[in-house]
């Protein structure tokens, strides 16, 4: 097996490895901080060490400074991701402000995010600049994306702060960008090979490999692959003070395999191009809700997600540039339910999705300060399923955006107008037909007195999300009369950055925003006469007021220890206003208060990172004074610690990591009746040739 081969170097140095783990643990007990390190040599001369430390310090600072942007943005770079107790993108993103993670538990459970209470379907997820679509249900499972090959995760409220981008990038209320690693080679380097391995609780077994090759001076290739295998089992506890039961979560096994390969090139005129092929295959059990007298479920799901995408980024001349993107995606999902026995056997449904996507984004520089952009995206989606009375819908969508940006001395202004044309064609029964919408956004930022430290921002955006194909056509549930669900956002914020020279307090970065969102014509399932007859309707308006802030800082201790600290806080008042009057309680699963604290320390080759996550009390259904007691969900707060050690093995860098999550064994549920794990561990090793 390829993995055996790759782990050979680690094996030869086993005794060394144990020594280092022991050292690492001992150091931690003494409460020593860390060096996460971009450093390449461990045993260098003292001068080099100092130099490297400064390097690290600068990197750490750069890494955490919140770059001013016209829209609120939060970034997690690979170096920060490495420090965090995170396995998937979903794990990492819960530390961002304004984000509520929906987690059904374990490694295989569905994980989606709700940004600023607007609902999962209002957040678009982009992978290397191209949207990951799911026209079937609009949800992208962020648990599926491991951090192994991710260079950076960024979350934008409103939209990404560039005008030269595909029209799809303007078409959601908030956007998550996942950027995969792009190979960079030092002079003389031609090949990078990194083997990684993670293991720990839940019977986790996660080998991975990254291969990067310089093919020519202008073209490089990379292949990244990983296997995740876990039985997913964990203990959970449930109690009302009288009964107190501990059980093991079952049907939680996952086996998934991901492979992706890319080619990256630069042309002589400095245009760039990328091609990426991606395949993900998974077979998993679906753990159901833990309810009275029923803890175990037999349902299973198989996924297969394939896509091929390419992009070309041209700088024709200084005035004109354009970006081309194209994608084909092929998704398959099989859902087997042995608890529903039909005349023909177990209920066993297969869903096939195809997507073709093409985007052309143009930018023209009118003057040195004034740009205009025109982008057009065409998308074709098809859903096929072996469901009774299925409509076999095909969706054609054309989106065009006209955007402009004016950059004056202190002030930047951006405006865009997005036109969406969508047409559904079905093979049988009714179709939702055609829709056309025009939606604006207006963004501005101001650096008072031209100061670099302070940026004031504001934006307004009105956007909708289309009903998904399930919303419209799913047998007996779909409703073809559905209108789009609207989200209107107003945001005012400030970003402050300051680097203090020659002081113990090295830098401070603060970002704060207040916002008001209105969600109108929410698409929700409403029951009919019985549980078989739910139907999708546009019912429900939500008014959301929020405040969020993120503060990052670093200290120089004067020695080789570098400390950094971050605090996030989110306040949300998201109330149902459907009947004209405002509810006194937040909509389901939205806490009023939530936040996190992260502390990190670097000392030479060691690093320690501590994260505390707090999510306040929530309600699992719409609540009133009378019934809130039945819907109340306890706050939860978890403490995670990550230890890292970085050194050289046969002159090649090796990284060791240990994560201890939920140290105080807190029992918690993010979704009612889907308990999450108690304390759990992960060990990580990676070795780069």
């Amino acid at each position: 097996m390829e993995f055996n081969m790759l782990f050979a170097p680690v094996r030869t140095g086993r005794h060394l490895l144990y020594q280092k783990i022991a050292l690492c643990l001992a150091a931690t007990l003494l409460c020593c901080p860390k060096v996460w390190a971009q450093s390449r040599r461990a045993d260098t001369a003292a001068t080099a060490k100092v130099h490297e430390l400064q390097q690290v310090n600068i990197n750490a600072v750069k890494d955490r400074i919140i770059q001013p942007s016209i829209t609120p943005v939060q970034r997690l770079s690979s170096t920060r991701l490495e420090r965090m107790s995170s396995f998937s993108v979903a794990d990492a993103i819960r530390f961002l402000t304004g984000v509520q993670l929906k987690d059904y538990g374990g490694i295989g459970g569905l994980k989606t995010v709700n940004v600023r209470s607007m609902g999962t379907n209002h957040t678009a997820v982009f992978y290397d600049g191209v949207q990951l679509g799911n026209v079937q249900n609009g949800q992208v499972d962020l648990g599926r994306f491991s951090l192994d090959n991710i260079e950076e995760i960024s979350l934008y409220n409103g939209q990404r702060s560039e005008i030269s981008q595909p029209a799809r990038a303007f078409a959601a209320a908030s956007a998550i960008y996942l950027q995969s690693k792009i190979p960079t080679f030092r002079p003389g380097e031609h090949t990078h090979l990194r083997a990684g391995f993670k293991t720990g609780s839940f019977g986790l077994w996660n080998p991975s490999i990254l291969w990067e090759q310089k093919l020519t001076n202008r073209v490089s290739a990379s292949v990244s692959s990983e296997l995740v295998q876990t039985d997913g089992r964990y203990k959970f506890r449930s109690s009302n003070g009288v009964f107190d039961t501990t059980a093991s979560r079952s049907n939680t096994d996952v086996a998934s395999y991901r492979v992706e390969g890319g080619l990256n090139g630069t042309l002589p005129d400095s245009s760039t191009w990328r091609v990426k092929a991606y395949a993900f295959v998974a077979n998993r059990g679906l753990p159901g809700p833990v309810v009275s007298n029923k803890f175990d479920y037999p349902q299973r799901q198989w996924d297969r997600n394939l896509f091929l995408q390419g992009s070309y980024n041209s700088n024709v001349n200084k005035r004109f540039s354009f970006i081309l993107n194209a994608k084909y995606a092929n998704d398959y999902l099989r859902y087997l339910d042995p608890e529903t026995v039909k005349k023909t056997g177990f209920s066993d449904n297969h869903f096939y999705q195809h997507e073709f996507y093409f985007s052309w984004a143009n930018r023209y520089r009118l003057t040195g300060a004034w740009d205009v952009a025109l982008s057009s995206d065409y998308q074709w989606n098809n859903l096929d399923a072996d469901l009774y009375r299925f409509a076999y819908p095909t969706r054609y969508m054309l989106q065009t955006v006209l955007a402009s940006e004016l950059k004056l001395k202190d002030i930047s202004l951006q405006g865009s107008l997005l036109h969406t044309w969508v047409n559904d064609v079905v093979k049988a029964f009714a179709s939702a037909g055609r829709k056309q919408k025009l939606t604006p956004s207006l963004l501005m930022s101001w650096q008072p007195g031209g100061q670099q430290d302070v940026t004031l921002r504001a934006f307004y955006k009105n956007i909708f999300r289309l009903p998904t194909l399930n919303d419209l056509y799913y047998t007996t549930i779909g409703n073809t009369q559905l209108k789009p669900e609207w989200a209107k956002q107003y945001d005012v914020g400030i970003t402050y950055n300051h680097t203090y020279q020659q002081q113990a307090f090295a830098y401070l970065s603060v970002q704060a925003d207040v916002y008001y969102n209105q969600v109108r014509d929410k698409i929700v399932a409403i029951p009919g006469a019985n549980l078989f007859r739910w139907t999708m309707y546009n019912i429900g308006n939500v008014a959301i007021k929020g405040f969020e802030t993120t503060i990052q800082s670093a200290w120089n201790t004067g020695s080789e220890i570098v400390l950094n600290a971050g605090v996030n806080y989110t306040y949300q008042q998201s109330r149902d206003v459907t009947d004209g009057q405002k509810s006194r309680y937040n909509i389901p699963y939205i806490p009023t208060h939530s936040g996190s604290v992260t502390l990190g320390a670097d000392y030479r080759q060691l690093s320690i990172n501590y994260s505390y996550l707090y999510v306040g009390n929530r309600y699992d259904q719409l609540s009133t004074d009378q019934n809130q007691v039945y819907n109340y969900m306890e706050p939860y707060y978890t403490h995670d610690v990550t230890l890292g050690y970085h050194t050289m093995l046969h002159r090649k860098p090796i990284k060791l990591g240990l994560e201890i999550n939920n140290i105080f064994n807190q029992d918690r549920e993010l979704i009612t009746n889907f308990p999450l794990p108690r304390r759990f561990y992960r060990i990580k090793i990676s070795y780069t040739i």
């Binding site: 009288v242 029923k294 006469a529 719409l622």
Partner: protein, 373 residues
Amino acid sequence: MVTSILLAGYMLFGSCRKNPSVIPEQQETVFTGDPSSPIQGLYLLNEGNMNMNKASLDYVDLRTGVYRRNIYNQANPEVVKGLGDVGNDIGIYGSKLYVVVNVSNKLEVLDAKSGKRLKQIDINNCRYVTFYKNKAYVSAYLGKVGDPKAPNGIVTEIDTATLQRERTVTVGRQPEEMAVVNGKLYVANSGGYSPPDYERTLSVIDPVSFQEIKRIDVAINLDKVKADRYGDLYVTSRGDYYDIPSRLYVVDTRTDQVKKVFNIAASSLCIDDNLAYICATEWNYPQQKNIISYTLINVRDETQLNRSFITDGTDQQIKVPYGLAVNPFTKDVYLTDAKEYVTPGTLYCFDANGKKKWQVTTGDIPAHIAFKY
């Protein structure tokens, strides 16, 4: 350092989590009770939205006018995760209260007076309960768990004295409600798991031999079945939700034939004396919305009356009429509104003239009612 930070963190947020406690009962006086009422009160089973584990039991004391909401947990705090997920039927026989909890795969047998659990009987995917000669009969969607070749449902017999499961008989696919007429048990088969291949029969079971003795062809996707005092069964067909509408059929148990069809939808049905009370929420596919209707039928001559059992306009407030019962003494009508399923519903009481007497907030999806004498 880390320890001190941890402590600080704990002090900041640690006090916010309460100790786990038993889900409390709520009480309120809703109306002026009738101390001489022959019926002491009624139990109302709230289904609770699926996966939420929020089935709950409420009690209306007709003699005092006190409404007790969510009584199960305080009466039975030791039961792990309480009453369970999706309460589907309720019945009182003798001194015992039987609650069918569908997703929780159990029949809860409670003391009808105290609400305390006497026994839990595990029955996979159980749906409805009915009683005859000291036996309880429970229908269940599937007879075997995890057998792809066993799509048929069952009816299980339980002795109401020993609370032991006794015999089991296989019926049609996904059986729903049952009724007993002239010593025969009639079971409505739905076949709801295999659209469009629905069942279209009533199974007739002889309670003595506990064998299915015949099937009566009625219509597709049968649901409710109620007996009147003239030997007829009123059987509802849910149709296919698209082309075939919901209908109400009358089956004569002397001939075991359909003798009349009412071209009306019926999602809830209750027969008292000579009147059948019917309400319906039916999805209209062309209009893509629910149509709600209230109907009265005289079961003696099988004619539809041209009046409703709500006359004061309260029906305009009702979003999803769901559960229905009639007080055999006062002829008061108890009707529940399930609303959006995820918010508490409402229990309405109407007098015999269709005027609202009182209303009260219930649990989620108020659905099934049993009178306690």
